[in-house]
């Protein structure tokens, strides 16, 4: 029983919060491999949970939700690197993309294009990531002519169910609703000229949703967001 008692004590103190940082980390590292410890901790969480009602409620400041919302579509590694601009300059970014199926040649091509565009004014870059796991799926780059020439570049193939299609959207900060940029084919680069839209803004939202084969019947996104990202000014 001693082994079980030790396990129970460890699980109980982990949940209670009295372990040191090193001990906490050690417990968390054991969790994936030790279902017995996981179960013991879960049982303690359930036992002690009613104590959370003892803390008096506190109204969060009005800035908290906007802050959370803004972070949602910024992958953790980007936040840790100090934001998109720093991330763009970070080697890890390219390693991640390379791991995600992008070749170094494409990386070089994008970089060179952006450098060329740098001379004719600011360009914009958007990395569209999957909301769940933040894996990058597409890159949007927009450069010359006030950011109205835009390319959507796939980083890999997107599996599309039968009778469904991918629809590409954008939404500026003060726009009431997203505007459709049309249906796109999985795995294919699309170039477009957005002469009917205002110039691109920093933070402008781009997303790809899953829609019926002929596109959204309402003119607004109706299906789940597969990839999403915000425009970042580069150069």
């Amino acid at each position: 029983m001693t082994g079980n008692d030790d396990l129970q004590r460890l699980a109980g103190e982990y949940v209670l919060g009295t372990l040191s940082l090193d001990e906490r980390t050690a417990v968390e590292q054991r969790l994936p491999r030790e279902p017995v410890l996981r179960d013991a901790i879960n049982a303690w969480e359930q036992r002690l949970l009613p104590l959370t009602t003892l803390a008096p409620p506190q109204e969060p400041s009005s800035q908290l939700w906007p802050r959370i919302s803004a972070s949602l579509f910024t992958p953790e590694k980007v936040r840790q690197a100090g934001g998109w601009q720093a991330w763009w300059n970070n080697l890890a970014f390219w390693r991640l993309l390379a791991g995600g199926g992008l070749t170094a040649a494409l990386a070089l091509a994008v970089t060179l294009t952006l450098q060329t565009q740098g001379r004719s004014g600011p360009g914009y870059l958007v990395v569209l990531v999957a909301p769940q796991d933040k894996s990058p799926g597409w890159i949007v780059q927009a450069g010359s002519r006030g950011g109205r020439d835009l390319s959507l570049i796939p980083l890999g193939a997107t599996a599309v169910p039968q009778q469904k299609a991918l629809q590409f959207w954008t939404k500026g900060k003060d726009w009431g609703a997203p505007v459709s940029l049309g249906l796109v084919q999985p795995g294919q680069t699309v170039k477009m000229h957005l002469d009917k839209l205002p110039p691109l803004q920093p933070e402008q939202l781009f997303e790809i949703t899953l829609e019926p084969a002929t596109g959204s019947p309402t003119g607004r996104p109706t299906g789940p967001v597969l990839y999403i990202g915000r425009a970042v000014k580069v150069m």
Partner: protein, 185 residues
């Protein structure tokens, strides 16, 4: 406006988050943020830090909603567990940073005492079995457990609050937990 906790479907909200529906996360936030902030604030003791904890916890909820398993507990409980551990990790990490400076420790301890003693805990009857079992514990063990869980106190902070030797407090926590487990099953 939040709707009564009894009718809000936390599990469904988490499943919607797992599908990437941001509205569901916002609804969870509207429903629960003030209570979660209350829990975090008791542990980290500074408002700005508590909001940081909530920020990171909501990102974790969003990211990890897909791993929520309703057979292992309620969705609401899962969220509280996440927030508490976010807060505890932050505090234990900070403990490393401030031990070098005795004045800081002293002022933090002073601040703690001004926060008011744990006598102010009013155990609530709706805590069910836990309420009864805590009631059966000796006062020192009960306070040790409440200081740790609700206020995020380390062993040495509990020792300071209860004016007891560190080794004694460690024993109270250990035996208090064992007794609780026996009582609650």
């Amino acid at each position: 406006m939040p709707i009564p906790a009894a009718t809000f479907d936390y599990d469904a909200a988490l499943r919607a988050c797992a599908r990437g529906e941001q509205l569901a996360l916002h609804q969870l936030y509207q429903q629960e943020s003030r209570y979660l902030l209350g829990v975090a604030l008791r542990i980290v003791r500074q408002r700005a830090l508590a909001e940081d904890v909530l920020h990171d916890a909501f990102l974790s909820i969003w990211r990890r909603a897909g791993s929520f398993d309703a057979t292992r507990g309620s969705g609401k409980g899962w969220i509280y567990v996440l927030v508490r551990h976010q807060a505890l990790n932050l505090m234990r990490a900070r403990a490393h940073e401030i031990t070098a400076d005795e004045d800081t420790v002293e002022s933090l301890l002073q601040q703690r005492q001004d926060d008011g003693p744990g006598e102010s805990y009013v155990l609530q009857a709706e805590m069910g079995r836990l309420h009864d079992c805590l009631g059966h514990l000796e006062e020192s063990k009960r306070h040790s457990i409440l200081y740790a869980y609700v206020d995020g106190c380390s062993h040495s902070e509990i020792a300071q609050r209860l004016q007891a030797p560190l080794g004694t407090v460690k024993a109270w926590v250990k035996r208090g937990l064992a007794a609780l487990r026996e009582c609650m099953g």
